[in-house]
């Protein structure tokens, strides 16, 4: 089983809830994997375990980047290994309402702007501008409070924060929730671009249409287990919905 050959994220015999069967999955570089399921059926728990935010009951998560393999045992380990996580509820778990756009962007990668221990504002602004352009963030000034931005642009700043970590695997927890349609399509393009550049993406979405549009493969969760793994042609709204409700497709 433990043949360390493939790069990417390897999940082995992961048990996410008592008396649920184990999950073994891999996320290859450049792949976009969707997570679907009715709310509370384990898909969010699974994603958080990949991010190191929750501890699994048993099993292991390993990330292979350029020949080295590291076990993910916690959030800090996950971040250090190259896993970035975009939380779901951006008001409760994402933004710092009293801080500026720039501070919100840089919080995960503060030390990268340090010159001899002191922050260089110019370096930080330069770093931010790269992502502002890439994600077409509409913000009046980088030093304006983040609360002056629209929901979609706040989300883009959070995505920029995660991308600034240069992750090998990006975990997205319902990234387009409460985001306007135009911004959604910008985000879809960005996700596709990231995958094309070799990043592995895991997207949890409450909208099946979104998963069908973006993902090559979807894991449908039911009662804290992967009830179905659907890919390619077989991936349709009907098949995903029937798996969500536990009916044979």
């Amino acid at each position: 089983m433990a043949d360390h050959t493939a790069a990417g994220l390897a999940v082995r015999d992961l048990v996410i809830a008592p008396s649920a069967s184990a999950i073994t999955q891999e996320v290859a570089p450049g792949e976009i994997v969707g997570l679907a399921g009715l709310d509370g059926h384990g898909q969010e728990l699974f994603l958080k375990m990949l991010a190191g935010l929750e501890q699994p009951l048993s099993g292991s998560i390993e990330l292979g980047v350029s020949g080295t393999f590291r076990k993910i045992t916690g959030l800090r380990k996950a971040v250090a290994s190259g896993i970035a996580y975009l939380p779901r509820d951006r008001r409760a778990n994402g933004i710092f309402p009293t801080q500026s756009v720039l501070d919100n962007f840089a919080v995960s990668t503060l030390s990268r702007d340090a010159r001899l221990g002191l922050i260089s504002p110019a370096a930080r602004k330069a770093r931010y501008n790269i992502y502002r352009e890439k994600l077409s963030i509409v913000a009046p000034r980088p030093d304006a409070p983040i609360t002056t931005l629209s929901g979609g642009n706040q989300q883009k700043v959070l995505l920029a924060r995660a991308l600034a970590l240069d992750p090998a695997i990006l975990l997205l927890n319902d990234p387009t929730r409460g985001v306007d349609v135009a911004t959604r399509h910008v985000l879809y393009e960005v996700f596709r671009g990231l995958a094309a550049d070799g990043m592995g993406l895991v997207i949890l979405s409450s909208e099946i249409a979104e998963i069908l549009l973006l993902c090559q493969r979807v894991l449908v969760f039911r009662e804290n287990e992967v009830a179905a793994e659907i890919s390619g042609e077989a991936m349709t709204t009907e098949s995903v919905i029937s798996a969500m409700f536990g009916r044979a497709a």
Binding site: N93, I95, T98, Q99, D103, V107, G117, L118, T147
Partner: protein, 316 residues
């Protein structure tokens, strides 16, 4: 950001405190021009310095949020005062600033670390943890020094007048350096929303612990400033600074919920309180009335700051 815009944004964050500062300064200049003539400003700064120092010291833990507060800053100042004069200067005969200053800062750091340990690692509510330290330090100070005693080393006494700007300037420079480090951004992020900070990979416990240590070090410095002003050791003065310092911090626009403000605001709040004290003493009112005035101004200031914030949010 241009210097002007920076000044404006500072004004917005400090808000009411700056307006109050201008008003109180004007009132003081009219009421007692002799006391407030330019030549005596140095002496006035000296009188206000320990309060400014105590307010600055109280700021870091408050910025760290989630009920972070250190009410042991006042007793810490008294403890440093007693240890430096009674134990080190009079008993052990140490008078060199090269030894006394590091000793005071070290005491502050240790007390801050103890507070930080209780509040962030044992996870006792900060107000309860530091209340414990408050009582312990007050008691220990009275044990070391049951009655006031003097004098202070000559070099320390010279820091009481215009030269009290020196420790204040050092505090500001130290904070200015902290502001430029990655730590400051983590501190503000933790104060703003600790769950979001955790999810973003910030070590919340470590950041808060360091905030307590910084408050302790700054408190040790404030204790030296108190020693300079009174030129002796007095076990009863230190604790009186605690609540007034926290009032000054709140007045200076530092949100007690964390993540908003800085030491400039806290210092302005402290100067406000000092000037208010000065106005009321020219009217010869009793100290009881003084307390009532502090309370009223504090509530008013916090209300106006909240109102100002709400208006600013609506404007967006």
């Amino acid at each position: 950001m241009s210097p002007l815009a920076r000044l404006l944004s500072l004004g917005r964050s400090v808000g009411f405190a700056v307006v109050l500062l201008a008003v109180l300064l004007a009132v003081n200049l009219i009421l007692s021009p002799a006391r407030f003539q330019p030549g005596s400003w140095g002496a006035l700064v000296g009188l206000a310095a320990p309060l400014i120092g105590a307010a600055i010291a109280s700021t870091p833990v408050i910025l760290a949020g989630r009920g972070g507060i250190d009410i042991s800053v006042g007793p810490l100042m008294g403890f440093v005062n007693a240890v430096v004069i009674q134990m080190l200067f009079l008993k052990a005969g140490i008078s060199s600033p090269l030894l006394l200053v590091p000793a005071a800062l070290l005491i502050g750091a240790l007390v801050g670390a103890a507070n930080g340990f209780l509040a962030t690692i044992v996870r006792i509510q900060p107000i309860v943890a530091t209340l414990g330290t408050y009582l312990i330090l007050t008691g220990v100070t009275l044990t070391i020094l049951p009655a006031p005693i003097g004098p202070a080393p000559a070099w320390l006494k010279t820091l009481s007048g215009p030269l009290s700007m020196l420790p204040l300037a050092l505090m500001f420079i130290a904070w200015w350096l902290v502001r430029r480090t990655p730590y400051h951004d983590q501190l503000m992020a933790v104060g703003s929303d600790d769950r979001a900070a955790y999810t973003a990979g910030v070590d919340v416990t470590r950041v808060r612990f360091i905030a307590y240590v910084m408050t302790g070090i700054l408190g040790g410095c404030a204790g030296l400033m108190l020693t300079a002003l009174i030129g002796s050791a007095d076990p009863n003065i230190g604790p009186t600074y605690t609540l007034i310092a926290i009032a000054a911090v709140a007045l200076g626009g530092v949100s007690l919920a964390g993540g908003r403000g800085g030491i400039a605001g806290a210092a302005i709040g402290a100067i406000d309180i000092f000037l208010l004290q000065s106005v009321l003493t020219t009217f010869n009112v009793s100290t009881f009335v003084l307390q009532i005035a502090y309370g009223a101004i504090l509530v008013l200031a916090v209300m106006l700051t909240a109102l100002q914030e709400r208006l600013a949010m609506r404007g967006r």
